[in-house]
């Protein structure tokens, strides 16, 4: 019924007394499993135990009255001793778990953890410092490994961030956007701290038949897996636009490409073909994406017809719609990082976007695009939870 094991050596046996007598206070001091040092407040060694002598290889008479504790430390640790250890000891009467290296008589080093207490005399003046040193070889190598691991992690994080930013930059045109006769600009802000590559992309380029294509899209997910789909989307659109005059036709091909290559991924996009001559004609197709906003400052229209998400369903419903862009009008394309920016339960929302875009009509496209992105970021206290991409095109008055 008893839950406790009986001690093998009861307290009354001869073996018990032998062990007790062997461990008298002097024996405990000299051969304790740690080094003991007693020093003057200036560090001069006044007493040292056998364990410390055995560890360091010094003779007692080489240390007592001749050396100071700090003299036994490696040079870097000696500075640390003077600037931290000694002041702390003096001020608070104790220090503990200080990692230092003791230089042995052989010149080798012994990593130790030191605890010290300062004993004062009756008048409050420092009298003696008692220091205990623990052999910390294993622990130190483990801690060094931890420090090295932290440094490697920081370096890896920096590399990943750089890679993400490099990859991300390929999802945006490398040069300033240009469509003759129009004012075009884009804005992009990554989610969070930008350490992860996002799924938003945009592009503006000539089609080879005198028109220009403007595309803006968003691939589901984040990180490297999403990035391969984003790269595919951008390149398929670039390639297909050259021989398909219909945005709906181009996005239909993109749908097939995504569905076949990455069945678990999907994307949304808006593709606009811009024919800028005496008149400016926009052919718009939206696939599962927020419809572009067009405004002259008073009137606000949405362009295009709501189409299906790309790469998701077997069937697609994608339509081209044609609009003219009049002098003084601005069109803005944006991703859901803008519309779905959240503050608590509140969304930034389409209404706010329309108000902002209408208010910015007549201003340069760059101001409109950056202004909208900045407003969405401010709305979520400066830390966007999703990528934000905006393209604005304006026909000057």
């Amino acid at each position: 019924m008893t839950g406790e094991a009986e001690l093998a050596t009861p307290t009354g046996t001869p073996e018990f007394f032998d062990a007790l007598l062997e461990d008298d206070p002097n024996e405990l001091y000299e051969n304790a499993p740690c080094g003991y040092l007693s020093t003057r407040p200036d560090g001069t060694i006044v007493k040292v135990n056998q364990t410390f002598l055995t560890w360091t290889g010094f003779r007692r008479d080489e240390l007592v009255g001749r050396r100071r504790l700090q003299d036994l430390l490696a040079v870097g640790d000696r500075i640390f001793y003077e600037t931290h250890y000694a002041p702390l000891l003096r001020m608070q009467g104790m220090v503990r778990e200080i990692a230092v290296d003791v230089v042995l008589s052989s010149g080798e080093r012994l990593p130790v953890l030191a605890n010290s207490v300062l004993k004062r005399d009756a008048g409050g003046e420092p009298m003696v410092v008692r220091t205990v040193l623990f052999d910390a070889r294993e622990r130190r190598s483990y801690e060094r490994e931890l420090v090295a691991a932290r440094q490697r992690a920081e370096a890896a994080e920096a590399r990943a961030r750089e890679l993400a930013q490099t990859l991300q930059s390929t999802f945006m045109p490398p040069v300033a956007l240009d469509i003759p006769g129009l004012d075009v600009a884009g804005a992009y802000h990554p989610a969070g701290d930008g350490s992860e590559v996002g799924g938003d992309f945009y592009d503006v380029f000539p089609t080879g038949r005198g028109t220009h294509a403007v595309v803006l899209g968003d691939v589901s997910g984040k990180g490297a897996d999403a990035a391969v789909v984003t790269a595919l989307a951008r390149h398929v659109v670039r390639a297909e636009v050259f021989h398909r005059p219909s945005p709906a036709g181009v996005l239909g091909v993109l749908h097939e490409a995504v569905r076949r290559a990455y069945p678990e991924r999907f994307c949304t996009a808006v593709l606009v073909e811009v024919a800028a001559g005496d008149d400016v004609v926009l052919t718009v197709c939206a696939a599962g994406h927020h419809l572009p906003v067009k405004t002259d400052g008073t009137r606000v229209d949405r362009l295009g017809a709501a189409g299906t998400i790309l790469g998701m369903l077997d069937e697609t419903h994608l339509q081209d719609r044609r609009y003219s862009l009049e002098a003084g009008e601005t069109v803005v394309l944006y991703t859901d990082g803008v519309a779905e920016a959240r503050r608590g339960r509140e969304f930034f929302g389409d209404r706010r976007i329309e108000t902002l875009v209408a208010g910015g009509a007549g201003r340069p496209a760059a101001e409109v695009a950056e202004g909208l992105a900045a407003a969405a970021i401010d709305f979520q206290d400066g830390r966007p939870r999703d990528d934000i991409a905006v393209v604005a095109l304006r026909r000057p008055s």
């Binding site: 040079v75 870097g76 600037t83 931290h84 002041p87 003096r90 608070q92 778990e97 004062r120």
Partner: protein, 266 residues
């Protein structure tokens, strides 16, 4: 945020007295002057502060670039003097702050009346014809030492509340902040300190200057203190009996007496 809050400035003594500014060195904070500053309250206006990044300064004001050289710390000193509208300042700098005081003086000479340099070194690393006391490898080892004490010194680790049964007047608040700081800040201050070379600035000092030299100081050896004394025209040199690098802690009475004697002769 004002400079006074930023640098945790503590003013004491006589409001109409000559201002005496005490600056702590690398390692800890204004508590280094705990045993010295009170002696000057009856006749001086005493000013204590923590450099940004140390003690109870405002951590958010820390600017890695500004504090990567001693000039940034000297800016702290000048800005404190400006904020308090101090003139005829007696500046007492311990350790690296002795040189910070020289830089602050050169920045705004009209404000300073005298410099007291406790354990100064204008360059810690040996150079041709100059013995600073350290090799470059020693300093790298110090930086490494700070790294290995990362766990013990980091403010990221919640400090242990340690009793001071034998010195209850120090209280628990001290042990929480004294000598503890962000390890990156600590390393940057160590680099700014131990890689500095301000030898050329010494000859430009033209106010009464006292060099207080400890015996047996591994950080600022006697030969370095003598070098500083030789380079600053008309400076006074006093060798203390105190050993180590912190006479303000280990021998406050001797330190106070030396500073008082110097100031009485101005």
């Amino acid at each position: 945020m004002g400079v006074a809050e930023r640098n945790n400035v503590v003013v004491g003594g006589r409001p109409d007295g000559t201002p005496i500014v005490f600056a702590h060195g690398f390692g800890c904070d204004q508590n280094m002057w705990r045993y010295v500053e009170p002696a000057f309250r009856p006749s001086f206006r005493t000013v204590l502060f923590d450099y940004v990044g140390a003690g109870r300064s405002e951590r958010s004001a820390y600017d890695a670039e500004r504090y990567s050289t001693l000039g940034g710390y000297a800016r702290d000193v000048v800005e404190i003097c400006e904020e308090l509208d101090l003139s005829d300042v007696v500046f007492v700098g311990h350790s690296v702050s002795a040189m910070v005081g020289v830089l602050a003086y050169l920045d705004d000479p009209a404000r300073f009346k005298a410099l007291v340099m406790v354990g100064p070194s204008p360059r810690y690393i040996d150079d041709d014809g100059y013995t600073g006391g350290f090799g470059r490898a020693d300093i790298d080892e110090l930086l490494d030492s700070l790294e290995s004490n990362y766990l013990g010194w980091s403010t990221a680790i919640a400090p242990l509340i340690m009793g001071n049964a034998d010195r209850p007047e120090l209280g628990a608040e001290l042990t929480e902040s004294f000598c503890r700081t962000d390890p990156d800040i600590q390393k940057r201050f160590a680099r700014a300190t131990f890689l500095s070379d301000n030898r050329a600035d010494l000859a430009r000092v033209a106010v009464p200057t006292l060099v207080l030299q400890c015996s047996d100081d591994v950080i600022a050896p006697v030969s370095v203190g003598e070098y500083v004394h030789r380079q600053i025209p008309g400076s006074r040199f006093v060798q203390l009996d105190a050993t180590g690098h912190c006479p303000n802690l280990s021998a406050p009475k001797e330190t106070i007496a030396a500073i008082e004697a110097f100031l009485a002769g101005l």
